[in-house]
């Protein structure tokens, strides 16, 4: 019995570490090749670099224009998250507290957005008419809007579990609705705000399609677009490409995401999935 159990645990660990290796292998390839010279990196082999070419990183930071791209990505990710999470929390709070048919309708309308695909053609028209196309403000507002349905959905359930007496007592004591919301409700929403915030930052940081449609000028490009451009301009999958530089460029572009993931994995692996399960 005990033997069977440890054999079982051994096999389980073997499979799990095998899958883990498959998950990490591409990252390993990127990392080792980002430190090779051009010739050695050409075949993107898993061999360790002979000499460490740290200069690859400084080269791509300059050639690939990674600093402005990083700043743009950060503006889009953090700007849209602050705006989106705030308006979504305000909406979720009121909609969860007032359960008239109208408020129910608004709630359902908002969360239908989770399933609605984007019509990029007409959205382009909307972005043109509002003069938001090809602007940083436009990207922030657009990303904020697209995260609202999911945020409202997660926050609505969360507000529903906060006792109503809290805000009623504050209101009775003469707090304005705004003050009640910011000093009583918002702090209590912290866990769900962090979950929504982290997921949105990661989503925006990885997004590719929106900048592709709405940003013509490269000075507004986020990291995803600048990396793709660096990859497809200077190189391709054919011979003559510099995979060392491409690898270095990709490594630097995914570094922020990995840092955010490591810092926030508790909320990602726990918080949001628990929300999906409990509804």
């Amino acid at each position: 019995m005990n033997l069977e159990r440890s054999i079982r645990a051994g096999i389980s660990n073997l499979i799990a570490s095998g899958v883990g290796l498959i998950a990490l292998a591409p990252l390993y390839l990127l990392l080792v090749n980002s430190l090779k010279n051009r010739v050695d990196a050409n075949s993107m082999s898993p061999a360790l670099p002979v000499t460490l070419e740290w200069s690859n990183f400084s080269t791509v930071i300059v050639q690939g224009g990674l600093v402005p791209a990083f700043i743009n990505s950060a503006i889009y990710a953090f700007g849209s998250t602050i705006l989106g999470v705030l308006v979504a929390a305000l909406a979720a709070y009121v909609l969860a507290r007032r359960r008239t048919r109208w408020h129910q309708f608004i709630y359902v309308l908002l969360i239908i957005g989770i399933a609605l695909p984007t019509n990029y053609v007409t959205l382009t028209k909307v972005m043109q008419v509002t003069h938001l196309i090809n602007t940083q403000v436009g990207m922030v507002v657009l990303y904020a809007a697209t995260q609202i349905p999911f945020d409202v959905f997660l926050m609505y359930a969360f507000v529903g579990r906060l006792p109503r007496e809290l805000d009623e007592a504050a209101f009775m004591d003469g707090c304005s609705p705004i003050r009640t919301f910011f000093s009583i409700i918002l702090p209590l929403l912290t866990p769900v705000l962090v979950t929504c915030g982290v997921l949105n930052i990661l989503n925006v940081w990885s997004d590719f399609i929106n900048p592709l449609y709405f940003l013509n000028s490269s000075k507004n490009w986020p990291m995803t677009l600048s990396v793709y451009n660096f990859f497809s301009q200077g190189t391709s999958f054919s011979a003559g490409s510099n995979w060392a530089l491409v690898s270095a460029d990709v490594v630097l572009s995914i570094l922020p995401v990995i840092v955010i993931y490591l810092l926030a994995q508790r909320w990602i692996l726990g918080g949001w999935s628990a929300g999906a399960v409990k509804g």
Partner: protein, 290 residues
């Protein structure tokens, strides 16, 4: 009391942003889908169902894109669900000590930008010096080596494979959360009654996990229908139209200035999206009751 303490205008910001950038484009799209809206003329004329006839013509490239998208969606749902469930069970009952570490590592690809994933896998799947073919040759399976991204009959499956590599951890994490809320007593009772672990899985785990499986299926479905980045970076829809999907086709039509058709194709998806959104609501309701 209600009106004063919880003013409806609190929802105004969300409603305005949602209305202008999510709802309005879709409503406009439904209208423009019946027109010849394009970049070459400022006139927009009503053309009835012409755009839809073009899209649903089985010999058109639009129809190929729809077929590819459906195949991609069904295949990724199946693969991510089966593999994700297997891994979730493994990490909740088989593995104990390092379970959290494995979970964090297997989830990691899900947070990586698809562009980065596409670029790396482009090199891994390179037929001459890519890791995959070299690896297959090393272990004596050289016969299985393929022109992964340029063979018409293989390319779409390569894209599906890469997407599964990236997405399976996400589904696994949700399923783990679902598995952890199933009371241990059920399994203990079943073990006392002499049920095998397969029977426990079949008669306890699967039925109790159904609402969560509904959620992951809907998430996979919504993602699959919208797939764009990975196809764009890996194959750009090629070779020919072998991996073109609805969103890559809309992007191409948009670039060519064929806005009416592109809008019609998007609008077909709005309808599908609306039907699916009811599926979302039902799945979520079901999980609330469970």
């Amino acid at each position: 009391m209600n009106n004063k303490a919880y003013p409806t205008w609190f929802a105004g910001g969300a409603l305005v942003l949602f209305g202008v950038f999510v709802l309005l484009p879709n409503v406009l799209g439904l209208g423009f889908a019946f027109t010849d809206w394009n970049s070459f003329s400022s006139d927009v004329n009503w053309v009835g169902l012409d755009n839809f006839a073009a899209i649903f013509d089985p010999s058109s490239t639009y129809f190929t894109a729809i077929e590819n998208t459906v195949l991609f969606t069904l295949a990724t749902i199946a693969l991510k669900t089966v593999l994700g469930l297997g891994l979730a069970v493994l990490l909740t009952s088989g593995v104990r000590r390092l379970a959290y570490l494995y979970r964090a590592i297997i989830y990691l690809p899900a947070v990586l930008p698809m562009v980065a994933v596409g670029i790396v896998f482009g090199s891994i799947l390179n037929p001459e010096h890519g890791m995959l073919n070299l690896g297959l040759q090393t272990v004596g399976l050289g016969a299985l080596a393929q022109q992964w991204l340029t063979d018409i009959s293989v390319a779409l499956w390569s894209v599906i494979g890469v997407d599964t590599w990236k997405g399976v951890g996400y589904i696994m994490v949700i399923l783990i959360a679902g598995l952890l809320v199933i009371p241990r007593d059920y399994y203990e009772a079943a073990a006392i009654d002499g049920a095998s672990s397969w029977k426990a899985f079949r008669y306890i785990t699967l039925p109790l996990l159904r609402p969560v499986l509904a959620v992951t299926t809907v998430l996979n479905l919504l993602y699959g229908l919208r797939v764009f980045d990975i196809v764009y970076v890996l194959t750009s829809g090629g070779p020919g139209y072998a991996t073109s999907t609805v969103y890559t086709t809309v992007f191409r039509a948009f670039g060519l200035g064929q806005w009416g058709v592109a809008t019609a194709l998007s609008s077909v998806f709005v309808i599908v999206g609306l039907i699916l959104s009811f599926a979302v609501l039902r799945a979520l309701r079901a999980s609330e009751e469970a």
